[in-house]
Amino acid sequence: MNNAIEVRDLVVDRGKRRVLHGVSCDIPAGRVTGLLGPSGSGKTTLIRAIVGVQIVRGGDVTVLGEPAGSAPLRRTVGYVTQAPSVYADLSVRENARYFAALLGLGAAEADRAIADVGLADAKNQLVGNLSGGQRSRASLACALIGDPKLLVLDEPTVGQDPVLRADLWARFHELAAGGTTLLVSSHVMDEAGRCDRLLLIREGRLIGDDTPPAIRAAAGTDDLEEAFLRLIREQVAA
C-alpha cells in the first residue's frame, strides 16, 4: 500500500522532557487514520512533527514523498490545530477568504469550504461570537480550501454536537474516498471505530497500529476502550 506519511524513529524533546521516544509508523494514503491517546500522550507533538513545525531531536518524517515541512508541502497539506487557529476578530468568510488568498484561490473556493462544514448560515458572523464547536468548524473550513492531499486534524470534533460530529466523520470519509489522506487525532475512544486505521499512543510510545477490527481481535474484546486498556497492561507487563 501507498503511504502518505512515513515516520521513522522520531524522537522529540520538549523542554527537558522526552515527549516522543522513537516513534515509527506508516500512514496509508486515501484513508482516515485515527491518532488516539489520552491527553499528554504526545498526539499533538507527533502531529506538529508531521506538518513540520516541531523541532525534532532525531528520526525522519516523510510526507507525500518530501521531508516534513518542506516548501512543496505548504500547498498540499491542510492543518487544523487543536485550539481553533482562526482570527476571532474576522468573520468566518473573511477568515476563509484570507486562507484561500494564501493559496492563490478566490472567494468561490472559500465559500465552498464554509458550506462543507455547515457554516453557510453563519458566514458573516465574527468568529469571536461563535460557539466553540462552530469556531473549530471555521478553523476546519480554512484547512479544506484548495483540496489538500493530506489533512492533519488535531481533535477536530471536540465540542461538536453528536449530529454534526456524525456529519463531519461522513465528510472525512467522503474526502478519503476522493483520494485525500486524513490523520485525525482524538482522545475520545468512541471515535476510534470510525477510522480505517488506528494509531494508539501512550506516554510518547505507539502501543497499537492496526485496523479497528484487528485491534479488537488482538485484544480479544469488541470494545475499543477495553482493547486500549488491555494493550496498555500488556505493555506494562512486558
Binding site: 513545525v53 485550539a83 476578530d89 484570507y98 486562507f99 494564501l102
Partner: protein
C-alpha cells in the same frame, strides 16, 4: 516575497482593525487630543508649542504603532494562527511586510488627521510643508511597526510585550532632542542618541520646522529612518521560525 500574499495579509490586518471600531477611534482621535492638551499647556508660549507639537507629530505614530503591532503579532503567536500560517505558502517577509503596509496605511490616516488638527485648529506654524510632516509621521509609524514585530519575538505574554515600551521606546524619546537639545547633551549621551533611529526622525521634523524647502539633511535623516526600519524587519524575519520547540 509574493505580492499577492503580502497584499492579502495587509488587507486582512486592516479588516481586523475595521471590526475593532474602538481601536480605530482611539488611533485617529487620541494624537489630535493630546496635541490640543499641549496647546493649552503652552498657551501663549508660541514657538515652544510649535517645536514640541512638531516633534510629537513624529513620536505619536512611532509609539502607538509599536504597541499595536507588538500586541497584534503576539496574538498571532499565542492563538496558533502564526503556526498555521507558516504551514501555508506564506513567506515570513510576506507576513511582516503585510503588517508594515497595513499599519503604515493606518498611520497615514492618523498622521493626516493629527497634522490637519495641528495646523488648522492649533495654529501650528512651520516653515516647511505639512505634507512632509505627514510623510515623516508615516515613516516613523513603519519604524514603530518594524521594532514592534521584532520585539514581539521576545515576549511570551502581553504583560511582557508592554514592558518593551519602556525598554525600547522611552530611551529613544528621552534622547531624541525633545527634552534637551542634542547639542547640550553630554558627549556620551549624544553618542547614544546618534545610534537611535528616532533621533533622525526628530531632526528631520525640526528641519521642516525651519526650512521652507526640503533640505538634504532631512532626506538623509529619512533614509536613515527607513534603513533602520528595514533592518528591524529583517531581524524580525530572522526571529520567525517555522519550527518551534
Amino acid at each position: 516575497m509574493n505580492l499577492t500574499i503580502t497584499l492579502a495579509t495587509a488587507s486582512r490586518v486592516l479588516r481586523q482593525l475595521r471590526h475593532d471600531r474602538r481601536t480605530v477611534a482611539l488611533l485617529v482621535v487620541v494624537p489630535a487630543l493630546l496635541l490640543t492638551l499641549l496647546y493649552f499647556m503652552y498657551d501663549g508660549a508660541g514657538t515652544t508649542f510649535d517645536r514640541i507639537a512638531l516633534i510629537m507629530l513624529g513620536i505619536f505614530p512611532f509609539v502607538i504603532m509599536f504597541l499595536v503591532t507588538s500586541i497584534a503579532m503576539l496574538r498571532e503567536r499565542t492563538t496558533g494562527t502564526l503556526e498555521r500560517l507558516l504551514t501555508t505558502p506564506l513567506g515570513k517577509i510576506d507576513l511582516l511586510f503585510g503588517y508594515g503596509l497595513a499599519f503604515g496605511l493606518a498611520a497615514a490616516v492618523q498622521g493626516a488627521v493629527a497634522t490637519a488638527a495641528a495646523y488648522w485648529l492649533l495654529d501650528l506654524d512651520t516653515a516647511g510643508s505639512a505634507g512632509l510632516v505627514v510623510l515623516i509621521a508615516v515613516l516613523n509609524a513603519v519604524l514603530g511597526v518594524a521594532l514592534g514585530l521584532f520585539c514581539s519575538a521576545f515576549a511570551r505574554t502581553e504583560f511582557q510585550a508592554v514592558q518593551f515600551l519602556p525598554v525600547v521606546v522611552v530611551p529613544q524619546i528621552l534622547l531624541c532632542g525633545l527634552f534637551v537639545p542634542r547639542e547640550q547633551m553630554a558627549g556620551w549621551l549624544d553618542a547614544i542618541s546618534s545610534a537611535l533611529p528616532l533621533t533622525y526622525a526628530v531632526e528631520a521634523l525640526l528641519q521642516v520646522g525651519v526650512s521652507t524647502e526640503a533640505t538634504t539633511t532631512m532626506w538623509r535623516d529619512l533614509v536613515i529612518v527607513a534603513g533602520a526600519a528595514l533592518v528591524a524587519l529583517t531581524l524580525a524575519a530572522a526571529t520567525l521560525r517555522r519550527r518551534t520547540p
